[in-house]
Point group: C2
Chain length 560, copies 2
């Protein structure tokens, strides 16, 4: 190790855990990393999957972050802490929480410590379906600006305003205490820098632009008239939120003394403005204009950037949003994705695990010495074993066809009220065949979004995949390449989001002139490439037409 190299920390807050990655700013060489799972979340606290309510306690974030950074530093070569120059932060989103006047999330106050409404409303929480519908209806009908137009024209229940409105309506005690709201990726940099006043804290450009209908052309957030017409409950909130935003390559400030002390770092460390995990993942995976970066995990996030035209912005219909600088500075960042991807395989796995998880302790079953271990082992083995058997099946042999809307549909054309379907079931439809149909459905869902980019005039020159699935499931990746009929390169980096976060930190700290330069210096390239098989692609094109047809019927007739 060269003694004087500058280091940066990339923090990546995922759905289940937070990662800290310490690397050299000059060449991206990894020094240490650590992952800490959120303890309360892991116990299922504050959540109700049956009603799609998913909340996270801010203490999970604070405790997790502190432990992850300290663990990583303790593993890094001696003297690393003193050479840390910057911290970058990415989180899931839209994951907002109500805060008081000091910017403290309400769940950190004793009276709200156990109230799920006072916590972060996780991206995949779908309790606000009705509120999203109201926002969409009003935006189209009120006669003023359609504030949804840079977010694909359809506002989602997964997003900022839907969630705020839902929580405020549902919880009167909270309504009185909620001074303002923060995104998870606004709050972590605010906390670390000590600039927590919600009216002045650094706000994330990508969260604002993609999820909060923020746009320069209407001077920030949607106008007061629109918001109060939506619900008088929102009166005045706009002024207690923000007008200005920063992209992730800009600093939010330097480390507050309290946090410098807690982490064993110095107060000159620059903390970059936060961004969503997927966006920094795209940066870490070396996104370039017209390369589609897919984060493939429990859900997917599909990102592409395109040059801003001098004539103004071309509107892409039915995707999550298009925001100047949200991914790369000077480029329009476009975001889309699937509400359910790996979650759908996990759902099927859980269905198959039901007998094992529920019946092993029955008196009618022979006693097994270590049944908990057996359950864990089977849980781990099921998806790989299903993948292996499903991969051996010919395409379209089973007659099965599924719709991948088990968690709603994010794009194209957000509709969280949609549900999944499995059609073409026969008595011979065994578990590997059903699994294959689910994998195909998720690939069809990916194609629907990619096709939308192309049909809206944003050509795709290549695909890069990051996230958990590209590394561990060649079967799912091959089906995806065949269905999309394009090669998919898998980023070599195991932790692209944290790497992108570190690239942003290095840029914000002035160690690289801009984000593309940081990408070039710190990037880790690609390993596997999945090439489409032309025969399979032809067969899938036909199946895809059937997927679209079934989808149109279900959407037309099946949404309640």
């Amino acid at each position: 190790m060269k003694d004087n190299q500058n280091c940066v920390i990339g923090l990546d807050f995922g759905t289940d855990s937070v990662r800290a990655l310490i690397i050299h700013a000059a060449d991206g060489a990894e020094l240490a990393t650590d992952v800490v799972h959120y303890p309360r979340w892991k116990m299922g606290k504050y959540c109700d999957p049956a009603s799609n309510r998913f909340r996270q306690h801010p203490l999970d974030y604070i405790e997790g972050m502190e432990r992850a950074i300290k663990n990583a530093l303790s593993r890094a070569p001696a003297g690393t802490a003193a050479r840390v120059r910057g911290i970058g932060v990415d989180t899931t989103g839209s994951t907002p929480a109500p805060v008081d006047q000091n910017g403290t999330p309400l769940a950190l106050l004793p009276e709200f410590a156990e109230n799920p409404n006072a916590m972060f409303v996780l991206w995949k929480d779908h309790t606000a379906i009705r509120e999203a519908e109201e926002i969409n209806r009003l935006a189209k009908s009120w006669g003023g600006e359609d504030y949804t137009r840079f977010e694909g024209g359809v506002y989602s229940s997964e997003w900022f305003w839907s969630k705020i409105l839902h929580v405020l309506r549902e919880d009167e005690s909270l309504r009185r205490a909620a001074f303002s709201w923060v995104e998870h990726c606004d709050w972590i940099p605010a906390l670390l820098t000590g600039h927590t006043d919600p009216r002045t804290m650094t706000r994330s450009r990508c969260a604002a632009g993609h999820k909060a209908m923020w746009h320069a052309s209407w001077d920030g957030l949607p106008g007061e008239a629109f918001l109060t017409r939506l619900d008088p409950l929102l009166a005045g909130l706009r002024e207690r939120l923000y007008r200005h935003t920063r992209t992730g390559d800009q600093p939010a400030g330097t480390l507050a003394p309290e946090w410098a002390k807690r982490l064993g770092l110095n107060t000159q460390v620059v903390v970059a403005a936060g961004a969503f995990d997927a966006h920094f993942g795209a940066v870490g995976a070396e996104i370039e204009p017209h390369l589609l970066v897919k984060v493939m995990g429990t859900s997917t996030c599909d990102m592409i950037t395109t040059k801003l035209t001098p004539q103004g912005e071309h509107l892409v219909k039915g995707i999550c949003g298009q925001v100047d600088g949200s991914i790369l500075p000077g480029q329009l960042g476009l975001e889309a994705g699937q509400s359910g991807f790996g979650d759908i395989y996990a759902w099927f796995k859980n269905v198959l695990m039901w007998p094992i998880e529920n019946l092993l302790d029955s008196e009618l079953i022979l006693e097994i010495e270590n049944s908990q271990l057996l359950i864990e082992q089977l849980d781990t083995l099921i998806i790989p074993a299903l993948s292996q058997q499903a991969a051996a099946l010919p395409i379209d042999e089973s007659g099965l066809l599924a719709l991948d809307w088990m968690n709603g549909r994010r794009t194209p054309d957000a509709n969280q009220a949609l549900k999944g379907v499995i059609a073409g079931i026969s008595l011979g439809s065994d578990a590997p065949r059903l699994f294959r149909a689910l994998v195909e459905a998720t690939a069809f869902g990916a194609k629907a979004t990619a096709d939308r980019f192309i049909s809206e005039g944003v050509p795709i020159h290549g695909i890069i995949a990051i996230g958990g699935i590209p590394k561990k499931s060649p079967f799912i990746m091959q089906v995806s390449a065949d269905v999309l009929n394009m090669p998919i390169r898998v980023a070599a980096c195991e932790q692209a989001c944290a790497l992108g976060s570190a690239m942003a930190a290095a840029t914000a700290a002035g160690l690289h002139p801009d984000l593309p330069a940081a990408q070039k210096a710190m990037g880790q390239g690609f390993d596997t490439t999945y090439h489409p098989n032309p025969d399979n692609a032809t067969k899938y094109q036909r199946l895809y037409e059937r997927y679209r047809k079934l989808g149109r019927f279900v959407e037309r007739e099946w949404t309640e």
Copy 2:
């Protein structure tokens, strides 16, 4: 036991096993019973579930029957054998096999012993979908008699002519050797009486009328012109089949010396003409005009009888058939049913069993001492455990809705190309919720057929249930009663088919003047009655409308 009482034997050949029931002809008191599983069938021989090919070897029937009768006689009080006066026979159907000039099923000849095409084509074999389509097309278009009109206007791939045509086309060696064809329920009485010439053996009225387009108004089977136009392969076959049929209350003959010796019975024993299991089941369950008898097992068979009108027969559209005397003499016997019922729950159970059945012997799993026993225990427990949990769920809580066409649709409007669907899936759709949706789907399928009877002018005055499911699943029965919105009485008899078979034997042997008299003397009444809950019935009516809507779409758009 009174010493001089006459006894009869009811033989019931089911899908998996054959039962022999020995009872008193006077009062139906049971003396002994025995069940023997078909050994080759149990091993999965000659079948290919993936292509819906299900064949049974005649030796399974012969060996099973002989053992079941002997076992039952050995358990019955001493002297029973000498008091046996009649044997009745019911079998599954349409389950035809090719025979030579002597009426010997070809699989009993050495050169065809292992050829599945030379065996009985089991009722649920769906290899002849294309042939059924051809029959339907020709029947509607050829300008002559529409021979399907007494079979609901739609001929099924599960039936006699479809199967014959499929096997003859597929297998040239067999084409040369197949002199004629027999139904399973034709062949057993022929074998036992020794009258095996296929041109003169006693042919079952219900098999002929319900499955072979036999009708008195066109002098028996469909005309030669129709058959040869369907395929020249069929030329001459009509003359090598039959013109006359007998109802199950009539004798087919007396026991042949060889069989009398083998079974330890005398040659005066009357063997009744055979019938389908469901029809004799309805007799055993004390069917009366306008009572709907539902045999609820792997599939269902729904039967009702109505008076023949002097003006001729009213045609009921889209059911399997209407045949004079097929169930009760002097009544028009109407038959309908679902291709999959318990089979659908078994399919789901098998999907859930996949990890346990496939992964327990993996090296990555801890070793379990008696894994085979564990598998068997779980296999037995799953459906009762799912039923218990599903029963506790409110109606329509899950948003799930399924179509019960996993094995095609028998009625209303036969279409074996249809497939099952599960719609409305969310990430919270766990195994009990999915199971509940499947149970509701099978009940909706039952309602679709009951409604068809009513809308076609055949009122239903009550419902009687027999078969395995009514005895073992209160949950499924309650959902059925709620969906059908009618009380369902469960026949007390555990073996209604064998009992009906014995009633037929007693009538054919002259021990009762007619079948209704035998029913009255030998019937065993009812135990549980499931009453519909009015609130549930109202909710299910709404869900049923959605079931119909989804069904119409799938049928219109999804049949390939």
